[in-house]
Symmetry: C2
DNA sequence: TATTGTTATACTCTATAACTATA
DNA sequence: TATAGTTATAGAGTATAACAATA
């Protein structure tokens, strides 16, 4: 099996992508309806709430957004909504430190129950304790592996639509 | 545990979402670079290739796109690129039947090896045979469960950014 | 020179509603 | 009336490149 995927690999891949897509779609609907947030914005707020201190723009972007300007755009929206603040960094005057506001934390709290509800009903409902253990172990390993992969600068041919 | 998620559930959920996001991002880069296709377009072509016959627009949209006009837009692009054709349906004159062209099939073939390569290197590299079996079984069950869930018309409160 | 962040801009994609035509 | 598909249009989001300021 040097090239191509075995049939069970292909099925697993497609099942994973479809399930993740459906889950993300439902979660985005819930976040939008109950908090006016996109999933990216939710991720940024959650990351800021987790890192109780402040994060630089670069640290905040990591893994969530794939371009500098993309984060500047989102941070602009969140700041305008009063959910975060941006300020100078004492250590490095080039950097901007981002902090979540009390309103931001409150919004996160308001949105979380529904978020958890959707996740539980859609993802965990059909799984037993063993499934959960296996899935958590596997996905943690996969995620860690992906994080350490080089950005893969591949860009060979290019044609068509 | 009637409300909220256990810590291991939360970790599993986040690991799944991050891994799926990273995988999708890499796959999209590869598809764009080697075939000029978005992931949605790839899904549509793959679905058409799989269903060797023709599919109506509604059948084609199912699960991939969440609005009628979204599919019309994508189908317009694919047709303009010569990858699909649209024609009338004998059974139901309201419907449009979509077919993948030889060029569409050829493009799919050209893109598939790289697609498989990314998937193997990113998703399957860190997994053993048991992992693959577990993951395939779990995700198939989760996907099937999600498919049968009602569209959940929830849309309670609505505020903020 | 390299890095942090912003801005300007163009582009892709999606969703809503209005519309046509057929069942 | 309900359904299949298209169109018009507006809005959100992303990426590229050029830029300013600091390391």
């Amino acid at each position: 099996m040097d090239e191509g995927l075995a049939p069970d690999q292909l099925q697993t891949y497609f099942a994973l992508m479809e399930a993740a897509g459906l889950l993300q779609h439902h979660v985005e609907q819930q976040l939008r309806a109950e908090g006016g947030l996109s999933y990216v914005q939710f991720q940024l707020l959650a990351r800021l709430a987790d890192a109780k201190g402040r994060l630089s723009m670069t640290e905040l972007a990591d893994g969530v957004v794939y371009s500098r300007s993309g984060l500047t755009y989102q941070a602009g929206l969140l700041e305008k909504a009063g959910l975060i603040t941006r300020g100078p960094c004492p250590d490095d005057e080039r950097a901007t430190l981002v902090t979540i506001t009390d309103d931001g934390l409150a919004l996160l709290q308001r949105v979380l129950p529904g978020h958890v509800r959707v996740t539980r009903e859609l993802l965990f409902a059909p799984l037993g304790p063993d499934d959960l253990r296996h899935l958590g172990d596997i996905m943690a390993r996969v995620r860690d592996h992906m994080r350490t992969q080089p950005p893969r600068s591949a860009a060979p041919r290019k044609r068509r639509a």
